[in-house]
Symmetry: C2
Subunit: 568 residues, 2 copies
């Protein structure tokens, strides 16, 4: 018993209290679980025994064993019981400084949670996982509907009765639900590759030699020498989760991996990312398994500056609101709404005093406004909402409800966005937006003013957007969801009798477009767009797929739009 | 909008308030979701506007859509975010009377939750599911390692790239993790069948005709004409969940199905089941997917009388405590314990003021006692425990901690237990236990005094058990986990230097044993057993498997036991 007691005493000495509000964590022994040490240190912050948590520079390891657990609903990720290493919830005026440390996570544990937190800075650290939530296999042979793959020791697996099961040395399982090919040389998504999503988890596998697994899936194709990524089925383990918080700063933080998004903020105000970087770890194609950054119903200011966001399996950033679906009308001031997308369930997008809009999903037309007096959560999916004013007589089940007052100003500046699957930035806010001096090399469009009231339920629409001084370097080399370097294709029908111009006042100036594909802008339902003083350079970096090469494709596709000024 | 308002008004009239504390729910229209009506009625109970909830006799349907949701840790079931139709948590002095109604549940929703409830009666109702959590296929052809199955419309499925996926019309999925054959004529588990568990979810399937699915799994066998049950992978949707409650009565309730146990009670006092019945629905082999009843760390009295418990996929009942594993020692009065079995995690088995024992897992030897002064939950798995007295110097990591003060008296009387997988009753309590006048026809042993400190972590050991006037009708016709109609095989090594007699004072009297297998009692480490005035009838209802037929098998196998009196 003595030796165990000694160990505990030794561990407790790793937290040191200095005079100036600093709680210092000294470097731990090799392979020691830092979770309880960090948790105890945060307990001191919570007891206001300090406001700065500094970790001595080193490598820290975290396991779920001693971690805080909370059932969390995280927008556009999957809700679940989550383990968290740094649970900064409820804290105010706190700084966490990693001193340049590396954090290695083992299994299903998220680095950071900030819920109802205020004035928090997280800085000077990087995080990675001992075993990634996705897996990568090298394509050794290719046949019809079938590939032979070899997996490095970083991606342990077993083949059980023709099923491919990824795991780790602690026997956690890492299910996949999506396949995508990466170019092994360029370390980017393979040009014009396909997303395999439907039924992928049912693929048939056979261990044909000790080093080779043959997989079979109807329609599967791949190029020998490239890497096939087995994207994780769920987004259970995001990196930095921010909910109902204010004045949050993340700086000089590098995310090499997470089993979900990098930074996901919901219903929060003033989020500042400076030198927040997303990069694939050594020898890997993929960094994060989902978006680098994501902001749902945030307000105030969002700043993303000096960031490198690359190789993640989804967008570099998505800033949007959420449309709830009207389920039923209970009285002249009372309705029940539904959070209809499964990755939106449980999130408190709507709050008392929010001003809201009622929207026809088909036309994305706002036909009434009101404000919220009270809310009653029925369960993660349904909420009863009571309004200040009587409902418009037009309100009906199936329409959408969105918050109007969550419209952050956004600045995205001096960033590099490249080699990831999907888009650069999706922007949907009526605040002032500046996208300046960035480098984009994205598999789909670089900037996408998306919105959708029937499926993804993402509320968008800009009112003041400036895109200035950026380099768009051969963007949309996926081309499998349509044309465009800059895309404005909200998912809406145009109603000529009562037109909705969903996006307004867009200025695109002084940018460089390097394009292998003649199309630059692909837009509809815009009121007010100026395109001037941009440089367009035609390249042959990628060879247009045969079908596209035979089409006449315009540089500027603009439908149902007014007040458009394009000067090439 | 008017028609919707009218509908709401109509619905609200279905809850009627009478003068005598009765809240009456009138029969709803065909196929109407009763969930919100019931929830509103319970709201009235909660506001003390009544103490009796009566449902007019009829058929009521429940969907998760409007249900209460809670993240629940339910012993020996799987923790998850659960939807509950009747959430009676926190209520006192309440009766729910179904008037003989039938409740039909649709999807992942549990009928009842009683958490911190007191003096509650639930009576006069039955519940079933529109689509069961398990599936059943008729064996049409049998080959080596392969069977052809036909599924009725009750068990919708699809075959996707050689995977068999069970689903319902709302596209919920019903994964399986265990196969077991049932005798289609006798409607019981097939004699001497095998439990297929390992790797079952990886089986290969092919739709060979519109009506036939061929499945392939190494080692798979089955008899043409019988039914192959695809047992649900998880126990996510128990029937009646009782936690930290007192004086709970369930009477005249029939459970035709649930996706977990029928009645599961944890850390609760005084549970009375009268005419609680478990039966397979029309045309099905299987009733519940797990135990009919289960009691973990309960106290006071447990009464199970006049119950028919049949065709469930696990035991008729299991009454036990839980051993936590000692993870580490923090000070002379403080340890960290681990709830080591994944289906025990998150349950508050330990409470302040509990008297506890320290146990050597290998020998199930109690070597020290103490009592709990305070508890701090680290997460669902780890708990810090502070004791009243200094720890024994023998206490070490890896030993077990169990509660001594949870030792209910038990009466099981006038029940029929038959045709289920696994055992009849597992009994592990130091209270007074009477098992009288029951009929047993179980696939494994009828009564099993089990305990395990290293794997299932179930604390047991009886001190006063009477088994009287029961009929044991050809029990243990599975025979695949060992011999015995009455079994006392706690998972322990016998230490001759310091013997532990784990079970004590057992009286077996006036029972009838009908046996096709010569073994009746299979016991070890018992102090005090009297077997007298029992009738033994040898039958040929089942033909002993070849291997057993060639062995000399004793009627009474007793190892390492003292004070044994057997009079045939």
């Amino acid at each position: 018993m003595k030796s165990i007691l000694t160990l505990f005493l030794a561990l407790s000495f790793t937290v040191v209290f200095a005079n100036d509000g600093v709680i210092l964590i000294k470097r731990l022994g090799n392979g020691v679980d830092a979770t309880i040490t960090v948790r105890n240190a945060i307990q001191k912050l919570r007891a206001k025994k300090g406001n700065k948590l500094i970790l001595e520079k080193g490598e820290y390891h975290f396991w779920p064993k001693m971690a805080e657990e909370k059932y969390l609903y995280i927008s556009n990720n999957d809700h679940s019981l989550k383990s968290i290493a740094f649970d900064l919830s409820g804290l105010e005026n706190v700084e966490v400084d990693g001193s340049g440390s590396t954090f290695i996570f083992h299994g299903y544990i998220s680095p950071f949670l900030l819920e109802k937190s205020k004035n928090i800075t997280v800085k000077n650290l990087s995080f990675d996982y001992a075993r990634t939530f996705h897996s990568e296999g090298k394509i050794v042979n290719a046949y019809k509907d079938s590939l032979d793959l070899s997996f490095s020791k970083d991606f342990p697996y077993s083949v059980d009765n023709y099923r491919l099961n990824f795991k780790d040395k602690e026997n956690n399982s890492y299910p996949f639900g999506h396949l995508l090919e990466f170019d092994a040389v360029k370390k980017e998504v393979a040009p014009f590759a396909l997303d395999y999503i439907n039924g992928v988890e049912n693929l048939i596998a056979k261990q044909i030699t000790p080093d080779l697994v043959r997989i079979y899936l109807p329609g599967l194709k791949g190029n020998v020498g490239n890497i096939l990524v087995f994207e994780s089925k769920n987004r259970l383990v995001p990196g930095i989760m921010i909910s109902d918080s204010e004045n949050i700063s993340i700086s000089h933080v590098t995310a090499y991996h997470a089993g979900g998004m990098g930074v996901i903020a919901q219903k929060s105000k003033n989020i500042f990312l400076d030198n927040f970087n997303v990069k694939a770890g050594e020898g890997r194609m993929v960094s994060l398994t989902a978006d680098a950054t994501h902001f749902a119903n945030c307000s105030g200011k969002i700043s993303i500056q000096n960031c490198v966001l690359q190789n993640q399996m989804d967008d570099a950033g998505n800033i949007h609101g959420v449309y709830a679906q009207i389920d039923s009308i209970k009285s002249d001031k009372e309705i029940i709404i539904k959070l209809a997308h499964f990755q939106q369930q449980g999130v408190d997008y709507f709050a008392v005093n929010d001003s809201v809009e009622f929207v026809i999903p088909k036309y994305l037309e706002t036909y009434a406004k009101n404000s919220i007096v009270s809310l009653e959560r029925i369960n993660k999916t349904y909420i009863k909402v009571i309004f200040k004013n009587p409902l418009s007589s037009n309100v009906k089940a199936g329409d959408n409800l969105g918050v109007l007052s969550d419209s952050p100003d956004v600045i995205i500046k001096n960033c590099t966005i490249q080699k990831n699957r999907a888009r650069g930035f999706l922007i949907g806010t009526k605040g002032k937006v500046l996208i300046e001096n960035n480098y984009f090399h994205t598999w789909w469009g670089a900037i996408d003013l998306y919105a959708n009231g029937t499926d993804w339920f993402e509320q968008g629409g800009v009112a003041d957007l400036t895109i200035k001084g950026n380099i768009f370097d051969n963007c949309n080399y996926g081309l499998n969801v349509g044309l465009g370097v800059i895309i404005v294709l909200a998912n809406m029908e145009f109603n000529p009798a009562n037109p909705t111009y969903y996006n307004k006042n867009i200025l695109i100036v002084n940018n460089t477009f390097k394009v292998f594909n003649p199309n630059i802008l692909n837009m509809k339902s815009v009121d007010g767009l100026t395109f001037r003083k941009n440089k367009i350079e035609y390249t042959n970096t990628y060879k247009l797929p045969e079908w596209y090469a035979t089409q006449k494709i315009e540089a500027f596709i603009l439908q149902n739009s007014i007040n458009i000024k394009i000067k090439k």
